[in-house]
Symmetry: C2
């Protein structure tokens, strides 16, 4: 099943929330610490309780790399637990010269079996093209991110356009295999309104709802008004750490359902 098909079957049913498994051993419920691999158990319970209602899972590689090789083994096992028909984004934010990016693509797609990844645009086309050869995957390229530092370079202006707008334009041009997406921070609803007409067929991954304060209502309305359903809204901390007791996974499930209901209520206005 291609990444595109996995994604479309979920967003076609109005499921747009991606759960970010930014799982940190210091933050998971204490009762899990008696397990051999507490983070894996945390992820397993979250996945078992949310897989029917998610659009995708996003695994930020940093949270696993920070425990070295043991952490990467947890990541590998987590990927195996996720049902085959659900998109798994390896949020790795890679990017290097061509022959090196090819190695990163092998790591992410051939070794770890992710369906999708995230990439830095800074080094330009040949840093991205080895990923684009994987036609059945989705490559999300950073456009405008959700963090304060997005002001430093992404919002510099060149030729009356922000740098992130140049990135979006290039992504659209490079999207001949229909396997490119962009990352657009949900903390920037006004910029989203201004940029959305240039998105074309690009998939859009929007982090920043939840702990970072992005506005779900504004984001969803902006897309639905344009009849663009190719958006994925990532929520990490606000779902996976919504509770720290024994039944944390049920709280996480309820939180996810709450987000989905919020979205359904907005969708009703447009259908």
């Amino acid at each position: 099943m291609t990444a595109q098909d996995k994604l479309k079957s979920r967003i076609g049913n109005g499921l747009h929330i991606c759960v970010g498994l930014d799982s940190d051993i210091k933050k998971i419920p204490k009762h899990l610490l008696s397990y051999d691999d507490p983070v894996l158990e945390f992820n397993r319970l979250l996945i078992e309780n949310t897989y029917k209602e998610v659009c995708a899972y996003k695994i930020n590689t940093a949270f696993y790399e920070s425990s070295g090789i043991d952490g990467l083994r947890t990541m590998e096992e987590t990927i195996k637990i996720i049902p085959n028909d659900i998109l798994i984004i390896g949020d790795a934010k890679r990017g290097d010269i061509g022959n090196t990016s090819r190695k990163y693509a092998q790591s992410i797609y051939d070794c770890f079996k992710f369906d999708s990844t995230t990439l830095h645009p800074y080094m330009g086309y040949d840093s991205i093209s080895p990923f684009l050869e994987y036609k059945d995957k989705i490559n999300f390229i950073l456009a405008l991110t959700s963090n304060p530092g997005s002001n430093d370079f992404e919002k510099l202006q060149s030729d009356n356009k922000y740098i992130y707008e140049h990135v979006i334009k290039k992504c659209s041009e490079w999207n001949t295999n229909k396997n490119i997406g962009i990352v657009f921070g949900a903390t920037n609803p006004d910029e989203l309104k201004n940029a959305i007409d240039d998105f074309g067929n690009l998939f859009v991954l929007l982090p920043g709802v939840g702990a970072q304060g992005g506005d779900l209502e504004k984001i969803v309305s902006t897309f639905e008004k344009k009849k663009n359903i190719n958006y994925i809204i990532n929520v990490s901390r606000a779902i996976i750490y919504s509770d720290s007791e024994e039944e944390f996974h049920l709280h996480a499930k309820n939180k996810l359902i709450e987000y989905n209901e919020q979205i359904f209520n907005i969708l009703k206005r447009y259908y």
Copy 2:
């Protein structure tokens, strides 16, 4: 020993060549394939034969991640083989929002024990600052890279300056802990001449000599004319794959010595 001290003791002796261990099982000499870990044996022989003459080693993480967890174990073992007084750059090109970049910094500095790393500037200050808290490490931020794609975004102009010049300016401002460097592709000698006066105390890592065609003579002269010795020239493929026979490591050593002699001959003009 701090990263800064390791580096200064080598460049103070006129050693500016960093050997890039971009080790690929498909390219290493065939006779090594009988070893349990052929890439580790390849690296071991290279290190044993070059460590007296190098400025630093650069390990591009992509070449190890592409073999998954086994590859990362090889990377971990390679780091242990390198003598303690030599700078090891983990060329990982990371960068994410603050709380995530902190995890990457833990992976690179606390788990894998690198002395230094490379970072994408795209997401701005908070994507870099967790690395800057490690005062005894050196963080090289991508400015102008050596690949064709550097034209796509790095060379866009904003406010009469290239984006990479904005990056250099910010790096200089952020360098209060004297633990920032920049990556500047050796394939851009003219741009180097124009930018060098803005480098201040920043360390400079220059990839692109060797397989990518960067001009050693021009690069070294540009720095020495300015009495700036804080430069590291990386050579990967042209040294490590200079020969594929049993004595490949001696060829690699000779190639490194040739590069060093070329540099000494240029230095003579300035001292």
